[in-house]
């Protein structure tokens, strides 16, 4: 017998609860030795990564216009490469990434953003990895 869930009836809290249940099942199935427990829910492999007071590569490369630094976004190539490699492992999870590394995994954007900030990363890339590989988009 299958459980059929009408997604349109789901609330954000329902979604988080399902995520936590799925995270629990995932943890029981496989123990990620490289992941370090941070707080009660978020796992992070980046605890020992030196970052406090570091100057990011992007900061050094920040474009200048008329001698002034111009606001811009990083192309996030390393993070996109990480996603191409690891999306299947983290299906359904929210992740915080920076410098091509996983900083935190959790059940909401807020949770992983806060965890990344605790690690000293203030502007990580936050991604909600789809539960299933994305199908080609049909447009209109």
């Amino acid at each position: 017998m299958r459980n059929i869930i009408d997604n349109s009836k789901l609330t954000s809290a329902d979604s988080m609860r399902r995520c936590r249940e799925s995270e629990g099942r995932r943890k029981r199935r496989a123990v990620h030795l490289s992941l370090v427990k941070l707080g009660s829910r978020v796992v992070s492999p980046a605890k020992n990564h030196v970052k406090s007071g570091r100057i990011s590569e992007r900061r050094l490369d920040a474009p200048q216009r008329d001698g002034r630094e111009v606001k811009t976004t990083s192309p996030r190539r390393l993070e996109q490469a990480w996603l191409a490699q690891h999306s299947a492992e983290y299906a359904g999870a929210w992740v915080a990434l920076d410098d091509g590394k996983l900083l935190a995994r959790g059940c909401s954007a807020r949770e992983v953003l806060d965890a990344a900030k605790l690690e000293g990363y203030y502007q990580p890339l936050i991604v909600h990895i789809p539960s299933e590989p994305p199908l080609p988009f049909g447009g209109w």
Partner: protein, 135 residues
């Protein structure tokens, strides 16, 4: 007759991603969140996973309610005023967050983003060209 456009930015997008995916930073009230969004000329507005709105400290359902139609149905979203920084171009707009937490597609659409910039696309080379419309 030839026509010329001038761009200040060029972004090489990742061919492994579905859609034309580009990093963007949403900011409001001193909070920021970085995400990956797809450029979508078919979308009326900019739409984002509600999780990002919650990370920015927004109460999603207190925004401007809007119903959208799709090819096979409809969905609800709520609009909030915020800034969107893509490459070197920042726009301030009403962006929408999906009511349904299971919808995760982040979209940079026409109103609020494409209508504030000049945009060029060379899919063969996987380059997006961008410039602030006013520059």
């Amino acid at each position: 007759m030839e026509h010329f456009l001038r761009f200040s930015e060029r972004y090489a997008y990742d061919s492994r991603s579905e859609g034309i995916t580009i990093p963007a930073v949403l900011s409001t009230g001193g909070n920021k969140v970085q995400l990956l969004a797809k450029i979508d000329t078919g979308s009326s507005n900019c739409l984002f996973d509600r999780g990002y709105g919650e990370a920015l400290g927004l109460r999603i359902e207190e925004g401007v309610h809007q119903t959208y139609s799709t090819v096979n149905g409809r969905f609800e979203a709520y609009g909030h005023e915020l800034s969107i920084l893509v490459s070197g171009t920042e726009t301030t707009t009403t962006a929408y967050f999906y009511a349904d937490p299971t919808i995760g597609r982040n979209v940079l659409g026409r109103r609020g983003w494409l209508d504030r910039i000049r945009f060029g696309l060379v899919e063969y080379e996987q380059f997006v060209y961008l410039a602030d419309y006013n520059q």
